[in-house]
Amino acid sequence: MAHIQIFGSLRDLFDGQAAIEMDVRNLRDLLTKLPQAYPDCAEEIEEGVSVSIDGKIINDDWFRPIHADSEVVVLPRIVGG
């Protein structure tokens, strides 16, 4: 089970939880299962997110592995200037 951290008011989308445990193998798994388990976050996921996995910001790489001890943070989509 991976440990997924939820931030501040994002928690409203996850029944108020600061962290959730989820059985996910990779980023694609995560992005598929999150809105299934927590429909409130679907809008945010669809608008586009970046996910930090073990300190690295991952934008789209579905097959980026998530391990049981991975640090996973869901973030707004990172852009640049």
Partner: protein
């Protein structure tokens, strides 16, 4: 897994000349407005004079009747935009309502610029003027005119108007508990005005589009794939049918990552059946492209007597222009990113107003938030009598620190940057009367993203690198250098060119400080594939196994000395390519994850004329972790350019709106970017902490340099005057008023 392997570099770190330089110093380089086509028409756009108005009717008949006019278009000539692109289309050409002063409402294509200009005067638009709002604080107040009804996201707190459309927050710990432990709690409000990227080249393009939906677009842009995809989504075209070629680009800084005139030129080309060139005037650039946010920011900071930050809180209202944006997120995330904090909470709120749709500007969102945070830290230092450098060192984020926006940091160079401050002559130099010294830290994420590169070995042994990211800061040179390094050959043997969308797979734009990192990494990987291919071929030729062929000093060597085989150079290998299997080349397309964060620390000395409020920057030093430097001149250039942009934002750059909602200063005369005589030399100190995510340790460097200057200048001015300035820009009237009211 680390991509980075420590090694001795031969090419990297040298100050080599850019391949595009010769054309740029002789005037041969071709920018957006520098090409024409046979039978070309000139496009021009009619813009709303109102900040907010319903478009009752548009009568284009007189314009169409003018001799030489070949097409007139309005929103009615655009199809329904693809899902998610509605705002982009509406910003290119207004639909039911004009949402800001300068919003496009119609466009013409004519046989000359003069006729096009004349035709605009013949278009009759009937407007019903609606109430408008341009200020962020006015816009959030209940009862404010609503710019775009029905856009409010679920989580926006109560108590604001419906112009507050998006809310995010970050942080960890318990800030209230943190404040309770503090010896001093600083609670302040800061404001900043909108600035513009101020690239010297106005947007320009040349478009053709046939009836069957096939077209070509020549355009100055940071990302021709984005331009292609957005134009197609807005015009109902297929990406493969629109080939977009990026011209040389005369500056972008984030402002050329989206479409403004391109879909309009394409629509005019389609309707007229001719090529259409569309070049913005400077006034149009300032009125109708994307400036940055203006802000209203609340910060609360708790420190104990030892200088440890016990809690940090910020609430950031970001004025996003007339359409929903997410920039406030990128203020809320990096505001306190340089620090290891037990308790931190940041909130970002996006506010829409009757202003142009904001676009990215170098680390979009971060400079203003860091201005608020770093100013508050400076205020706390003054209140507690603490040294601003020591406080930053004590609280600095390290490898393994849980960042204020969530992820745990990998290796980075913030501490080294702060330590470097101590060693500068600047930090230890005395100050004269009316002078003050400011210090500030800053952060940007950096990223990689989708990247496609091809590398070819030519028959003469030279190496061609084909990529598709417009080169703004010298990336062709840097990429050539990395490929030369990888092959062990001279820089002069490698030529990197930027190609069109019809010749290369998808690429993110040149943004996010990504190109040297991501394109460089893709080029290194393609080079490695070529080397592996060569190993296979030579193994066959030499009748050895592939692992007996090694690459050293620019040549393939056989490790089996008994064979007496002479090493082969690239020219020798190129010459036999067709005999050993055919042309040698490799394409590498990948999603280049693994960009490393970049921290910077700036020191600024200002002198303030107490009688007029005039601020002059006397001395400036920018310090940054660049990972591994490829071309030091270009790294320094990024730091210097970013710093001066930040200084301009801090001192005199400002969008000034009248009560009528119209922009008062749409020109370089009164939108005051720094001129040469305003600036001192900008000293730089480059710290090199290799990024584990890149084979050569490269970190993006382009965006971080604009993050610290706002606060560095602000802190310097406040220390020079003994009055805290909390509203940027610190133009003379604001500074003088602050001094006089103190």
């Amino acid at each position: 897994m680390s991509e980075y392997q420590a090694r001795e570099f031969k090419v990297l770190g040298q100050r080599l000349k850019r391949p595009d330089g010769f054309d740029k110093v002789t005037g041969r380089a071709r920018y957006g407005a520098d090409v024409e086509a046979a039978g070309m028409l000139h496009g021009r756009i009619l813009r709303s004079p109102h900040a907010h108005a319903r478009i009752v009717s548009i009568d284009t008949s007189a314009a169409e009747a003018l001799n030489g006019v070949k097409a007139v278009i309005t929103r009615a000539d655009f199809p329904q935009a693809a899902k998610g692109y509605e705002d982009i289309q509406d910003n290119c050409m207004a639909g039911e309502r004009a949402l800001y002063d300068g919003h496009a409402v119609a466009a013409v294509a004519a046989t000359s610029k003069r006729i096009a200009k004349q035709a605009l005067k013949l278009i009759k638009v009937e407007y019903e003027v609606l109430p408008h709002v341009t200020g962020v604080e006015q816009a959030i107040a209940p009862g404010a005119p609503i710019v775009q009804p029905g856009k409010v996201s679920k989580r926006v707190p109560e108590g604001f108007s419906d112009n507050v459309v998006r809310y995010t927050s970050f942080g960890h710990g318990d800030v209230e508990a943190g404040f309770a432990k503090a010896d001093a709690v600083i609670e302040r409000e800061y404001r900043t005005e909108a600035s513009h990227q101020g690239y010297i080249e106005p947007h320009a393009c040349l478009a053709t589009l046939d009836e069957d939906g096939r077209g070509d677009l020549w355009v100055c842009t940071q990302g021709h794939y984005f331009i292609r995809d957005m134009s197609c989504a807005v015009l109902g075209l297929e990406s493969a049918n629109l080939r977009v070629t990026a011209s040389e680009i005369g500056g972008g800084f984030g402002g050329k990552t989206t479409v403004f005139v391109e879909p309009v030129a394409l629509a005019l080309a389609k309707k007229s059946g001719h090529a259409v060139k569309l070049v913005m005037t400077r006034e149009e650039v300032l009125r109708a492209t994307g400036p940055t946010v203006s802000t209203y920011m609340q910060v609360k900071l708790g420190l104990n007597k030892d200088g440890i930050i016990t809690a940090a809180y910020a609430r950031l209202f970001y004025q996003a222009g007339a359409y929903k944006q997410g920039t406030a997120d990128f203020g809320a995330m990096p505001a306190f990113a340089p620090y290891e904090l037990e308790n931190v909470h940041t909130e970002g709120l996006d506010v829409i107003t009757n202003r142009p749709r904001t676009a990215s500007y170098r680390a979009p969102g971060a400079p203003t938030a860091c201005y608020a945070a770093e100013s508050a830290i400076d205020e706390a230092c003054l209140e507690l009598g603490l040294d601003p450098l020591e406080v930053r060192l004590k609280n600095a984020a390290k490898e393994g620190t849980k960042s204020s926006y969530g992820p745990t940091y990998q290796d980075h160079g913030l501490i080294q940057c702060l330590e470097a401050v101590k060693d500068t002559e600047h930090w230890n130099a005395p100050l004269a009367a009316n002078q003050g010294r400011g210090l500030a830290a800053g952060f940007w994420f950096n990223f990689g993203g989708e990247t496609s590169v091809s590398v070819f070995l030519n028959t003469d042994g030279s190496v061609t690198v084909t990529e598709a990211n417009p080169d703004i800061g010298g990336s062709r040179a840097s990429i050539s250098m990395m490929v030369a390094e990888e092959f062990g050959i001279n820089y002069e043997q490698v030529r990197t060119t930027v190609t069109d969308t019809g010749s290369m797979g998808q690429n993110e734009p040149t943004h996010g400080s990504r190109v040297t990192f991501a394109v460089g990494m893709a080029a290194i990987k393609a080079s490695r594939e070529i080397k592996a291919d060569i190993q296979q071929r030579l193994a066959k030729m030499w009748d050895v196994s592939a692992d007996q062929v090694i690459w050293q000093d620019g040549k393939a060597h056989c490790t089996d000395n008994s064979k007496g085989i002479e090493p082969m150079s690239l020219p020798e290998i190129g010459a036999i390519a067709n005999n050993t299997g055919g042309p040698i080349g490799a394409h590498h397309g990948a999603n280049m994850e693994g960009a490393g964060v970049a921290f910077g620390v700036h020191i600024c000395d200002t002198e303030v004329d107490p009688e007029t409020g005039f601020v002059s920057v006397k001395r400036y030093t920018a310090i940054q972790d660049a990972g591994k430097m490829i071309q030091p001149d270009y790294v320094e250039g990024q730091l210097q350019g970013g710093a001066v942009q930040g200084i301009g934002w801090a001192l005199n750059e400002e969008y000034v709106y009248g009560d009528d909602g119209r922009l008062q200063n749409p020109g370089f005369l009164d939108y005051r970017i720094p001129v040469a005589s305003d600036m001192p030399m900008i000293d730089t100190v480059i710290v090199e902490v290799p990024n584990p995510g890149h084979p050569f340790g490269v970190r993006g460097v382009g965006e971080t340099p604009i993050v610290p200057p706002l606060a560095a200048v602000g802190n310097a001015v406040s220390r020079a005057t003994n009055v805290r300035l909390r509203h940027l820009p610190m133009s003379p009237p604001r500074v003088l008023a602050a001094i006089q009211s103190a």
